[in-house]
């Protein structure tokens, strides 16, 4: 993975103008691999040696822009932007549930002043919180006064925090200069289509120039504005991620074309996410039975686009008021009442010291992986398998099977261990999903995996997993994920070679849709 994904840069790259680097990133196909089975993961999975220094500086502690960073650094969203200027068939603004985790949902909206106080409170409590995003619950650029006021207040009081925003793009061209002025250096645009005929199936209407515009005309205006906004941002050296919702039968095949369109306009990262469409959410897609993709369908599309550009696979489709590491949500600790009562001591020095310690742990992880990877050199096999990992972060196998709310998925092959996604399972210990047995829920979610790596697991679930064909592996407890996975894979290949194990392909897996049944303990 990373080791095959080198961008050809060296010390001379430091003197290259930003726009040249952006062009280089944009033009670089698949970060160093050209076709074949060895598609590289760069961008999301890329490490320090895989990116130009300037880009690495921008993404290295941004959990959304770097898969590697998301094990170590946290983000928060502040819900200062409730209004929206478009309607999407996968969104229902009436729905609000504290146990629900997906975009467009928040428990309370904030004024810019409340948001600024909240950021300081969170940054003081969680020193690895490095990124502040405004992602709604509507569209940040449909609420420009509140959005930019929030950025202004935060850049004064917490200058070390990176600012980013996420938009549908309709109003984007009008605000690019302001975005640049406030040093917002990461912008995410949700682009689900570049063909207005397809767009008309996703967007019932937009509000544009004081009119509600429907159908193909609405989608045509939207796609023009999105692509122009993307071009304007990349011209200014602002790093852009494109989010696309994969809607089977509507835009799934078309997203390959979207991928090409955004890549050619300089987007840094493409994040293809599964449609969330449970009927109880009350969205148009949820009510008319539109299904989301299976895990295999999602991965196949992501793999297909990866030859074209960097893919993000660690997105948790989080709420517009989420706080913490991706995959965890500590927003309950920081409600407005609690934040206003907090005495905040924002200490830049101690934040920096903490982050320095995180960096050295992170380098140890990368070194361990590299060392282990060398042991695979010379091995040759067509076997590629998926494994699930229970982790609380820091790149370690450090979560008990029964406490895992999600599993991270790695693809193992002789080229290494590559992060390819994650699966929500909620808390197996606290009951299953609906009438389904709790362990059944987990098995359904990781059914495409050959093994699950855990810090600990009870005898019962271990044998049930074995019956389902999934090996529970606990001998790498509290060790680095990738190093352990590679070591285990090497032993697996040995067993296959000696005939001790017969290699068999696994089935597909389901992507969880419903509300969280239990929040963190």
């Amino acid at each position: 993975m990373d080791s095959t994904g080198h961008l050809e840069t060296d010390a001379s790259g430091a003197g290259v103008a930003m726009d040249a680097i952006m062009r280089q990133v944009a033009e670089h196909k698949g970060c160093g691999t050209h076709g074949g089975a060895g598609k590289a993961s760069c961008g999301s999975g890329a490490g320090e040696n895989d990116l130009p220094a300037e880009i690495w500086e921008k993404v290295k502690n941004h959990p959304c822009y770097s898969e590697e960073a998301h094990h170590h650094y946290a983000r928060m969203h502040v819900a200062v932007a409730p209004a929206c200027n478009i309607q999407c068939n996968y969104c229902n603004r009436k729905y609000d549930c504290a146990n629900e985790s997906r975009p467009g949902v928040v428990s309370e909206k904030l004024t810019p002043e409340q948001a600024a106080k909240k950021v300081l409170a969170v940054a003081s409590t969680i020193p690895q919180m490095t990124v502040l995003g405004i992602a709604g619950p509507g569209d940040p650029l449909a609420n420009p006064a509140k959005t930019f006021k929030t950025f202004e207040l935060i850049s004064k009081s917490a200058p070390d925090i990176k600012l980013c925003l996420s938009t549908n793009g309709l109003a984007l061209p009008d605000h690019v200069d302001t975005i640049a002025r406030y040093n917002v250096d990461h912008v995410t645009i949700t682009i689900n289509m570049v063909d207005p005929e397809i767009g008309a199936k996703i967007y019932p209407w937009i509000f544009w120039n004081h009119k509600r515009i429907e159908g193909v005309e609405a989608a045509r205006i939207l796609t023009e504005r999105q692509l122009r906004g993307l071009e304007m941002l990349t011209e200014r050296g602002i790093l852009c991620k494109v989010n696309s919702v994969m809607i089977p039968g509507v835009n799934d095949k078309h997203l390959v074309e979207v991928n090409r369109a955004v890549k050619s306009r300089g987007a840094f990262l493409h994040n293809i996410m599964p449609l969330i469409s449970a009927p109880e959410h009350g969205t148009v897609f949820g009510l008319n039975g539109q299904r989301g993709p299976t895990a295999r369908e999602l991965k196949a599309l992501q793999d297909e686009c990866e030859g074209e550009m960097n893919m993000m696979r660690h997105c948790r489709q989080c709420r517009a008021d989420a706080v913490g590491l991706l995959g965890e949500d500590r927003s309950e600790e920081f409600t407005t009442d609690k934040v206003m009562a907090m005495e905040v001591n924002y200490d830049l020095e101690s934040r920096k010291a903490y982050q320095d310690a995180v960096e050295s742990g992170r380098q140890a992880k990368v070194a361990a992986k590299r060392e282990e990877l060398e042991t695979l050199a010379g091995e040759s096999s067509d076997i590629r398998i998926l494994v699930a990992v229970a982790t609380k972060g820091s790149g370690l196998i450090n979560e008990h099977f029964g406490h895992a709310k999600e599993f991270q998925i790695y693809e193992l092959s002789t080229s290494g261990a590559k992060f390819v996604g994650h699966r929500r399972v909620d808390l197996y210990c606290q009951g299953g999903f609906g009438d389904e047995d709790a362990l059944e829920t987990v098995i359904r979610a990781i059914n495409d995996c050959h093994a699950v790596f855990v810090a600990r697991i009870g005898g019962c679930p271990k044998s049930d997993l074995a019956k389902a064909g999934i090996a529970a592996v606990d001998e790498f407890a509290h060790e680095f994920i990738e190093k352990s996975a590679i070591a285990w894979f090497r032993a697996y290949l040995e067993k296959v070679k000696s005939g001790e194990v017969a290699h068999q392909a696994r089935g597909d897996a389901a992507i969880r849709q419903g509300a969280l049944l239990a929040t963190a303990e």
């Binding site: 929206c84 200027n85 603004r93 009436k94 449909a142 004081h210 009119k211």
Partner: protein, 73 residues
């Protein structure tokens, strides 16, 4: 007549507040309300009432028949 907002339908997203040409809309008790005396139904400003056009929930900004139709000056 003026427009009014059906409180039980309002998501409190505030989109209408910014679009109203008369500053007739404000937040009260968690949802948004239209001050009928200020509402011109957008007559003379726009082709369609802005609150109706921007509201994410259908049938939330509705005509209030308790008030006479607005007469353009």
């Amino acid at each position: 007549m003026a427009y009014r907002i059906v409180g039980s339908q309002c998501t409190s997203c505030s989109a209408c507040e910014a679009e109203c040409p008369n500053q007739a809309i404000s937040e009260r008790g968690g949802t948004f309300v239209i001050e009928p005396a200020k509402c011109t139904e957008c007559i003379g400003h726009f082709d369609t009432p802005q609150c109706v056009a921007v509201c994410p929930v259908d049938d939330t900004c509705v005509i209030d028949r308790n008030y006479p139709r607005h007469q353009a000056p």
